[in-house]
Amino acid sequence: MLNLGIIIPQLTKYGGAERLLIECVARWQDQHRITLYATDFNEPLLAEHGIAPGVVRSKLSPHFHGEHATLLNATLLPKLWQQEIGEHDVYHMHLWPTHLLDLHPSVWYPHEPLRAMHDLRYNEPIDESGVRPVRTLHVYPKPEYDSVSDSLHEASLDAIAGFDQLGRPDRIVANSKYTAAYLGEVYGRKVSDVVYPGVCPDDFMSPLQDSSTRFPDSDFHPGFHCDWAFRENIFLTIGQLWPHKRTGLAIEAIKLVENCQLYVVGSGPELPRLRRMAENLGVADRVFFLENLTNFELRILFARCQAVVFVPVREPFGIVALETMAAGKPLIGADEGGYAEVVDKSCAFLVPPRPDLIADRMRLLLNDQGLGQRMGLAARRKAKRFTWDRTARELIAIIEDTHRTWNRARASSRATKRRGRTLVGVQYYCWYGEGSGSRHWNDTPEYGAVTDMPLAGCYGSSKGVAIEQHLQALDAAGVDFALLNVHVNDQGIDEYEWTACRNVFSVADKTKSKLNLAVHLCPYNCQKEQMAKAIALVRKQARASSRYLRVRGQPLLGLFWTGEMDGHRQWLRFLRDSSEDFTVVACSLRRYEKQTEEGRTFGLFDGWSLFSPLDLGPEGEWERIWRAAYRQSGAGRQDLRIITVSPGYDDSHLQSPAREKNRFRTVDHRGGATYRRMWDFALAAAPAPDLVIISTFNEYHENTHIEASLNHGSLFMDMTADFARKGKKAWTKR
């Protein structure tokens, strides 16, 4: 079962794109956990089509309106939505511009690119009065035009075109081969997945006229025979009334054919113009415009008509064609677009979009009822190949495959490729404000006092310049990863630290750092709700970033473990359930006790590291303690072996009474000797460790930092570079 997040701009009508999604979700909902995201939902519509309440509905920010609406909806809105969308195993997006959501793994079913920018760019209606310099733009599924002043029109489209190319969905699925080629042209990537929309043949009733057109071996109702008959010369055209649907061609064609009527089903901005056109052509008494019909009414119309006329400009697919086939009626269509792939001359007339040619085919059908019957029968048989069951099956297969492929790729990502090779990492703190006296730079004597400071000065953890310097230094030292420390308290995740943390990811991407990153959560007095939200944020980050450190195929989540919560079964179970898709590593203040651990942490952890091995015992016993700890460090479910090294320790300047319980508040750095002793132990460790964690890069309160500082210069960074290099050689041999 996948946790599937599905995003579509609106889910309020049973139009082409929405219909496909509704039909698919109705078929997927029992197999997968689904959350639907849209700006608006039509609950009765969803209920009518069997979408159960168990499918979660989550509302997204509404579309912008006004002069710059198109631009804002194309650029800003997807970014807002991205923040509002939760964590899912895989994302499935419909319509434009949902591909701009940077969520992964993702499958985008665009239905069509933004045609107003491409093949319809010069087809949008222009105010014909010649006095109002306003242009119109249409972005499906908005039911009305956006207006843009003439002077901004081209600039807006160009700006949108630039953004349009930034989307990077993992897979694109087209609704026809025609659309696949079109998308390939627009986005410069090959689109090889094609899933045709479907139809429910059982939803259509047998033709409601002329017993001679009865289907002799009808599959509508087997054995069906009747002796009643009447004939109606009705042609039907269905679609939203936009200029590119070319409904006017059908009206012009009707003008050329006597004794028949045209039913125009649909609504849209073209309606007044089309009504005017019917009046002017003198066919207003036989062209009828119908809006907001129920599905039942549509079925009646399909059953009544002689044929369906559908001649839009290069329609990406055109479900109307399938519906026509399912209704057992001939199609008079344009010889272009996606639906041309699913019909042939046995069931459709595909003609150049000209009224006279459409009229010719209308007359042909009116004069030869047998022809209509034969075409309808062929259409009906053909339609059975294009069911919604098939659409749903093919599309979910692609989604599932995308998820599998993504996971495989992640599992074999850089960290995993180094399986068997020891990775060196640092504890990295994101909590510093900018400048002395700001947060954690001597802001309180109890917890915030520092006795050393970085060579670069009291930097702010969120600042890109400082982050860039840190990443360069860590890359230069051969460090493989950083555990970004973020605190969680009763207010939830520390937003400042979290912002700084995300900035580290972004700057690392921007500077192409080699470093992998992972989050190390430090919970303090927080409740389950706050912790669950924090873990969800980490999960989202892990999914979004290709540099998130993965260990044993899963993203690594560090958890600071004081031991206070040992034995709290509910809390530990909650943590285990909330983090089941992570490799969870404890950074603990206590040693792992193999005999009793199950009853203390209940299998929460996949790996165990000591946050501060220097304060576990007196200096003379360090190696013995470290050896004992290392022997048992194959903790948890993943049998990870982790060694922590530290340059020294000194928190004696902190006035917090809580600190007074520590027997080893000062562990002398000894000019690097302490750090060397720890590294020597790590280099000699057998078997080779999976991870060596330096505690810390920049924890100045306890003086465990190795960052270049006023007191130590670059001593510890240099030593780190040296030992990391030696270690990777030594550990590789083992």
Binding site: L208, H221, Y263, L301
Partner: protein, 576 residues
């Protein structure tokens, strides 16, 4: 002094006034026909097409003799000659001039020998070619057919004058010069509006008040007794009374409303278009446009409706002056009196039925004249009907809003409880597609009910009397009514009524009959059979229905109509 108005408003749509009611080519080889096309029609350039086809087969081209196209000049008059020779029928212009363009069927000689032909006169817009007016005159080529046609017309005329069934009319003083013009858009003798018009005609004829019927669409056989609407402006005088029966869009309503005589509008209600749009978009459009015309009621001296439900629709339109949305039955006040005597209407409806804007007259409410008394002397005619079992009867058009499919659902439930139950539907298929849908249901979903379902499209009055007598109960699932005359007929024939609780139906039934608010077929079926099997229970239902029928009969004797007519004629003397 000529008291006739002879005037048309500038916005009046074009029409043709023909000098003859029919053409007689039985003895002669040619007959002249003068067509007058009112000046108002010349706003846009028009041309005339005379299309001749067999009355029994209008299918093109096999039933058509041919068509002739004539340009119009500014005189407003076109003089034609319809001639017959061995080549068949021809239509010619009497004055010399440019020969008309025409098409003549090679089979014209044979088709022209048909006993009755139709001369279809069509006005088209020269720019758009759109049809702006059309009507047909019958052309007889066979003496026997002509005699039959004339007999039919005479029989119909006699029905209008029959005094035996005329209601007891109060002794009002009627102005000697004042004629009554009964106007409707579509006239059919056997539908509710037709019956109302015929009853009204008899009522006035019984009091020696001159009365004529006008319609836009009617059986051309009746032409002469029923007059085309085009004859109205020429015929109506300033002291006359027009009684306009309003039930659908009428392109000439604005013209009628503008005529400077006394005018009364009787609203039969209009079917909300969404009920029928999928089956007949043209009909739905007419309904929608009819509802949009409701505010024109302001221009009538008296406005009346067939029920409080209909009156509420009318009042809303008058209050808003906007196109009228179909009325939600739930909006109708439940405590409205079902039948309001016209003489008391000022008090009974004073708070609710005042015309809101521009006219302080109330909307009067009185039931349509149903012609119940005519049943009494009518002989029953034999009908083949099921000899046993419960016969559920529905009388009415086979129209979407009548929900025949729900009657089938009910029949299905009844047949589960009593396999001999059957449903008898008597009514015309006014919507072929809907009829087709019902037939399809009977061929598929309800295939097993075919033996239990009987549909009679056309029944004579005598046959209908037999049907009413022989049926067990009357059922209706209709979701829109104005009054529902068949309910009253069912009560008259002593049949228990089971009806879906549409407000107009509830209003007509009063506290009698059995109404249900949900279409739970099983429950309704149980209820019907329980009533049918329990004599005491059925007797209680019928007693209540009889009491209700008595109330209705007291209101349909013409009092309401006379009161309304009096109010229209002497509006200024009334100070309610």
């Amino acid at each position: 002094m000529d008291k006739k108005i002879g005037w048309l408003p500038a916005t009046c749509p074009p029409w043709i006034g023909a000098s003859r009611d029919h053409l007689d080519l039985t003895e002669r080889t040619a007959q002249d026909l003068v067509l007058k096309i009112p000046a108002a029609a010349w706003e846009e350039s028009l041309f005339l097409v005379a299309d001749v086809y067999a009355a029994a087969n209008h299918v093109h081209p096999e039933g058509h003799v041919g068509w002739w196209k004539f340009d119009l000049d500014d005189s407003g008059t076109v003089k034609l000659k319809v001639a017959k020779d061995r080549h068949g029928i021809r239509v010619l212009r009497t004055r010399a001039g440019k020969a008309p363009s025409c098409w003549i069927n090679p089979d014209a000689p044979a088709i022209s020998r048909q006993p009755v032909l139709a001369l279809h006169l069509v006005l088209r817009n020269a720019r758009t070619q759109a049809i702006v007016f059309d009507e047909a005159l019958l052309t007889y080529t066979d003496p026997a057919a002509l005699a039959t046609g004339l007999e039919q017309r005479a029989a119909f005329a006699s029905q209008l004058k029959a005094s035996g069934g005329a209601a007891a009319v109060p002794r009002y003083c009627w102005p000697r010069e004042t004629q009554v013009h009964l106007v409707t858009t579509n006239f059919a003798a056997h539908d509710a509006i037709g019956k109302m018009i015929m009853g009204t005609s008899r009522l006035f004829a019984g009091s020696n008040v001159p009365c004529a019927i006008y319609a836009r669409v009617f059986d051309p056989v009746l032409r002469g007794v029923v007059r085309p609407l085009s004859a109205l402006p020429e015929a109506v005088g300033k002291d006359d009374l027009i009684l306009f029966n309003f039930s659908t869009f009428d392109p000439y309503m604005e013209m009628i409303a503008a005529l400077p005589c006394r005018k009364m509008l009787y609203f039969h209600n209009i079917t909300p278009p969404q009920f029928i749009r999928a089956y007949d978009a043209e009909g739905a459009l007419n309904c929608a446009r009819g509802l949009e015309q409701l505010p024109l009621a302001r221009k009538f001296d008296v406005v009346a409706a067939n029920s409080n439900f209909s009156a509420a629709v009318l009042r809303d339109a008058l209050a808003n002056g906007e196109p009228v949305a179909p009325k939600d039955p739930a909006d109708v006040p439940a405590n409205q009196p079902s039948i309001v005597e016209a003489g008391r209407v000022g008090k009974a409806c004073s708070s609710a039925s005042r015309v809101a804007a521009g006219n302080s007259s109330p909307v009067l409410v009185f039931p349509p004249m149903t012609g119940l008394q005519a049943w009494r002397d009518l002989p029953e005619e034999p009908m083949e009907l099921p000899s046993h079992g419960t016969i559920l009867l529905y009388v009415g058009r086979m129209a979407p809003h009548k929900k025949i499919e729900d009657l089938l659902g009910l029949l299905d439930a009844c047949a589960h409880l009593d396999k001999d139950s059957c449903l008898l539907v008597v009514g015309a298929r006014t919507f072929p597609a809907y009829w087709g849908y019902i037939q399809q249901l009977l061929d598929t979903t309800y295939k097993h009910l075919r033996p239990n379902f009987l549909w009679i499209e056309h029944a004579t009055e005598g046959q209908l009397k037999t049907i009413y007598r022989r049926s067990s109960a009357f059922v209706t699932m209709s979701e829109h009514e104005g009054f529902c005359v068949p309910l009253v007929e069912a009560m008259h024939f002593g049949k228990p009524v089971f009806a879906y609780a549409h407000p107009a139906v509830c209003e007509t039934l009063g506290d009698s009959g059995r109404v249900f608010h949900a279409k739970d077929f099983k429950m309704i079926a149980s209820n019907i059979l329980a009533v049918m099997r329990d004599d005491a229970l059925r007797e209680r239902v019928l007693t209540a229905q009889n009491a209700r029928l008595g109330e209705i009969i007291s209101k349909i004797d013409g009092h309401g109509l006379w009161g309304a007519a009096e109010r229209a004629l002497f509006r200024d003397a009334h100070t309610t």
